[in-house]
Amino acid sequence: MIGELGMAVQEVLSAFGVEVAHLRAKETDFHRVEGFLCIITGLLERDGERKGIMSLELDRKAASLLAGVMIGDPEAFSSEMGLSALSELATMVCGTFLARLDVPLLATPPTGVVGEGLQGILNVMPARKVELRLGEGLLVAGLSLS
């Protein structure tokens, strides 16, 4: 499924004219936060027991680049308008990702958090992640699903 998530991110970014130059996959023991801005969406199987977390994690440069593309102000990524735009991006990625899957999953509303020195464990399940290089910034899409 992580391949579908990576493609969903690429598809949504492409709609904003952002082509991803680099894509690298990795696995982690827990689903941890990387970056200083993170948006998480809970996933629940419609008629089953599977559940998990989808995350988009951005460093400052990636958040700035996307704020510039989406609202025309790269400096405004941590303003209410910037955070709203990034939250909308996560909703679009989630919708595109779910549409690519055979398994019907429900999504919770996205919740974001931004902060210096942020630490977090998003799920105690192992996670698969794809790293996407956005100019000098890094966007990481993660998925941990039982």
Partner: protein
């Protein structure tokens, strides 16, 4: 089906569940409660547990846990020394899981057919963390405990 006017009952279920879990785990009572409206941007210091839920309605629960309460939860859940950051995060996740589990069981009993289920709990640790949700309406509740004030923020997705 759960209607918008019934959201206050759902908020009450989360608040009652938090009080119950605090009492069960720590053996102390919540000694005060303040209610207010939720905000799109919420700033926290310390440890925060986040649990989403989905079914006939969807939303998410934030639990802002002050440091003394976080340490007390860690000890009550079996920890013996001062917790590492990861141990605090695991304890907060478990606390969020317990509160949301109790609340959603109660909600599903009260509103048959809701089939509201929790997502896996997440937990964050930091200073001046700003949490954000858009397209939701919510309630904020502050529960006073002997270990400091715990802030709850319950948000529901706005349906078109």
């Amino acid at each position: 089906m759960v209607e918008r006017y019934q959201f206050s009952e759902i908020v009450d279920a989360f608040v009652d569940a938090a009080k119950e879990v605090v009492t069960q785990i720590l053996g102390v009572e919540v000694v005060g409660q303040q209610d207010g409206a939720g905000d799109a941007l919420i700033t926290f210091d310390g440890v925060v547990a986040v649990v989403g839920f989905s079914g006939a309605f969807s939303g998410r629960l934030l639990l802002g846990i002050p440091e003394p309460l976080s340490v007390a939860l860690f000890h009550a859940l079996g920890g013996e020394t001062l917790p590492s950051p990861d141990e605090e995060l695991f304890a907060a996740s478990e606390f969020g899981n317990l509160v949301s589990g109790h609340a959603l069981t109660s909600i599903n009993n009260r509103f048959p057919g809701s089939n509201a289920r929790p997502s896996p709990p997440s937990a964050f640790l930091g200073k001046r963390m700003v949490f954000f949700n858009f397209g939701t309406t919510g309630s904020r509740v502050i529960l006073a405990t002997p270990y400091g004030d715990m802030r709850m923020d319950i948000a529901f997705k706005e349906e078109p």
